[in-house]
Symmetry: C2
Subunit: 475 residues, 2 copies
């Protein structure tokens, strides 16, 4: 769960064997810089929403090996006693730069930059990827869904299809950052201070002798928070008429039915029928909640067809990050400098090459506050109007920064010497931030399908550094 300690054994074995090797070679303390980044935007979309930073930093702060964990490693018979003694004193004392969670981010730009002794920076790779990959993927899906729903509230209830208990907790947290701000997960509500919402299940209706009796009983217990699930028997012939009967009875007692929920069938069509029936009966304020395998595409279609849905409940497809280009964010964590020397992975496939050395990502804002593009420079350098910049993957594509802009660095130092430099923001602040920042993106970049590709370029000096390293390695 979010609050419990994460064991440093939650790592790939090869991190520990590499640490043992670095220790043996006297390289464990060599200063190193690693970048965490992804190459492809998930869901074939125009943007990703960065998330997972606060849990990642908390995990780094608490990273210590306990005695039974050292004993377990000893039992594997692959590590020396000398290395295990050293590991028993391990803690993470490095620096981490990153954007704020909720920030729109793009391919090939460092999301996290970790500066630490080589062994420390290496050990945390798996943990950072595990947390950042998944939360960024969920926050991005949630932002897509939330925007597809227009202003309508979206409720997360993917707990039953999430990947285990903690997967579900991460889903609720990251979904909130992306704009799906309430959840059915009561524990997530408690841990992350999120509003929790719910209705009732089909089993409630089936546990009574009739649907009407079931609705009346639910209204008795929750006269002011009553949402009735109307599709157990027949939505229009039974569920709606019974819900309207209960709405009338509630009104006589001084209460108002909060809503009805549709969970099967043609939601666009059924919601229009339901709206008409409720309006006709004098209940224009009763909300229509819809669920059943919803995601951004289904919601878009429902709205396109004039569906009358006030609140969307999204479960499986949010919790599992479903959809083409979904399922996993391909975040990677690469060594970019060691002992002050820039490093890159050389490969015949330049799309898999890395950007060497410590860098700064600059977001260029137009005078009206909208995003112009991003430029990645060698650390310390600042992009200038009139400068030529290059595509990070295909340097044959270059362009001039000819529009006026104000450049601001995307990342800040979030951890220094192993301690967080800022208090944890609230999820609600991060969700507000995400919404504001997405509004600054070019309209076409927000498009759900075939979006306009937001430009991320590299500066001339970074381009030159890469070329120079490539030539020296080819020799």
């Amino acid at each position: 769960m979010a609050a419990t300690r994460i064991s440093p054994l939650l790592t790939d074995l090869y991190q520990l064997t590499m640490l043992a090797g670095y220790h043996a070679e006297g390289m464990a303390e060599t200063p190193a810089v690693f970048d965490l980044f992804f190459r492809d935007i998930p869901y074939r979309g125009g943007y990703a929403v960065f998330a997972g930073l606060d849990p990642a930093l908390r995990a780094l702060e608490g990273l210590r090996f306990e005695a039974d964990e050292i004993d377990h490693l000893a039992s594997l018979n692959i590590f020396t006693a000398d290395f295990l003694d050293w590991l028993a004193g391990f803690s993470f004392e490095g620096d981490v730069d990153a954007p704020e969670e909720g920030t729109p981010v793009f391919g090939n730009q460092p999301l996290l930059t970790v500066r630490a002794p080589l062994a420390q920076a290496q050990l945390v790779e798996t943990l950072l990827l595990n947390i950042i990959n998944f939360q960024t993927l969920v926050a991005t899906k949630a932002a897509r869904i939330s925007r597809a729903a227009g202003g309508a509230p979206v409720l997360e209830f993917g707990l039953r299809r999430a990947q285990g208990p903690d997967g579900a907790m991460s889903v609720a947290r990251a979904a909130c950052i992306g704009g799906v701000r309430s959840t059915s997960n009561v524990l997530a509500g408690k841990v992350f201070d999120l509003p929790v919402k719910g209705t009732h299940a089909h089993s409630w209706v089936m546990a009574f002798d009739s649907e009407l009796e079931a609705f009346r009983a639910y209204a008795r217990s929750f006269p002011d928070h009553c949402i009735l699930l109307v599709d157990t028997v027949d939505t229009l012939k039974s569920g709606l008429p019974n819900a309207i009967t209960v709405a009338r009875e509630l009104r006589q007692q001084g209460h108002e039915l909060f809503g009805i929920r549709l969970d099967s069938g043609d939601l666009a069509w059924l919601s229009r029928q339901a709206r008409a029936m409720l309006d006709e009966a004098g209940f224009p304020e009763v909300r229509i909640v819809a669920s059943n395998e919803l995601d951004e595409e289904v919601i878009h279609t429902i709205r396109d067809e004039g569906g009358c849905i006030d609140i969307y409940g999204v479960g499986t497809r949010l919790a599992t990050c479903a959809g083409e280009g979904g399922g996993a964010l391909g975040g990677v964590y690469k060594l970019v400098a060691i002992d002050g020397r820039p490093k890159m992975k050389l490969t015949s496939d330049i799309s898999k090459a890395t950007l060497p050395g410590p860098k700064t990502v600059w977001r260029l804002y137009r005078p009206d506050g909208s995003y112009l593009q991003d430029v990645i420079t060698v650390a310390g350098e600042e992009p200038q109007q009139g400068e030529t910049v290059y595509d990070p993957v295909n340097p044959a594509h270059f362009r001039m920064l000819d529009e006026p802009f104000e450049a601001r660095p995307l990342a800040r130092t979030r951890m220094q010497g192993g301690r967080r430099t800022n208090p944890s923001p609230t999820l609600s602040q991060l969700a507000d931030r995400c919404q504001t920042e997405l509004d600054r993106l070019p309209e076409g970049t927000l498009r759900m399908t075939n979006p306009h590709r937001y430009k991320v370029s590299i500066s001339d000096s970074l381009h030159q550094l890469r070329e120079q390293l490539r030539r020296s390695m080819m020799r």
Copy 2:
């Protein structure tokens, strides 16, 4: 994590509101029966592998509300003090029937049957679905991958792309049951007693001044467990020649290089080249390990093209259950009886109807031990040769049980009065069981694509019960 307590707040809010309602209506203690089942086999495959039972039962055993959890619920201002007092004394005291983990299972058959007072059986819905859905989905994916690999060992290393820390733990556990018996996840190795494996990353090579120097250093630390990643610079021109140099040096020192790892490029072709180079150099025993977005389909293609791979490493696509029909198992949990009376969800779409009442799933074995088909009966009834049985979804499809068979119930009582009736099996036992049982399936059912659909029928008396309930509800 696997060993920590799971809070009863890890549930959908509506479970708690329904509980409050049942409590208020005096129905909390009414005896109820729920079935957990799925309708569609994941990955468009011929079978699923049941998993997650042991963690699910452990979670049920420990389900108690702590004082701060009751306080939190009180703070939501939707529950009465009377209900919260009652909840403070809650524990699960029901019975659970289920097959053993590792058993092949099919659509529409109860995987778990829960008999308990209504409130207890209802509260545990979300928790059971969360655990069983995901672990069954992973075990099924692992079985598909493991069978595609033939006898070759498969290593799970999806931790960095799994859905949070606990998602990764569940992946390692369930993957082992399905046949992917070792993992890179050190913590999973400790908690579940799994063999852990690993090599090194590209960053190891990049941290040294040359690839050869990096390989030599790794071999110094792990002379008997050395697997060298050969694609950081150029697999055939640099990685393999350097690995062979180190293999010769190791041999001079009385050690043997364990293996090399390919992580990019055309793995079928590269592995053939690598095999030829290693053999030529006198190292026919050096293993070739392959990774990079592998799953059952890629592995099948590699083998089909004569790839020479000894060990497969599978990460993202296993951990995220990727593939058509993957991502989530659509397990549901439905009320089938209350106070001794059978119940079913009526719907115009019979494929979404439930099978009413307590039932028994029988697996019919041919005299040679292979599976003939499954038959679901009313509890207590046993299928007989010559009997007519019906398709559970389309009763117009019926057939006679004309072959000889021995019928054995699929499920046993695994929990009685809230206590587990059996000790936890080892994962290695469950993995053996899974392999043995899958071998009893018809060949065509094991096929990766367009498999033969294994028959699951319902008995005549169950068919009659459903028809009778349908008629009574239509009135």
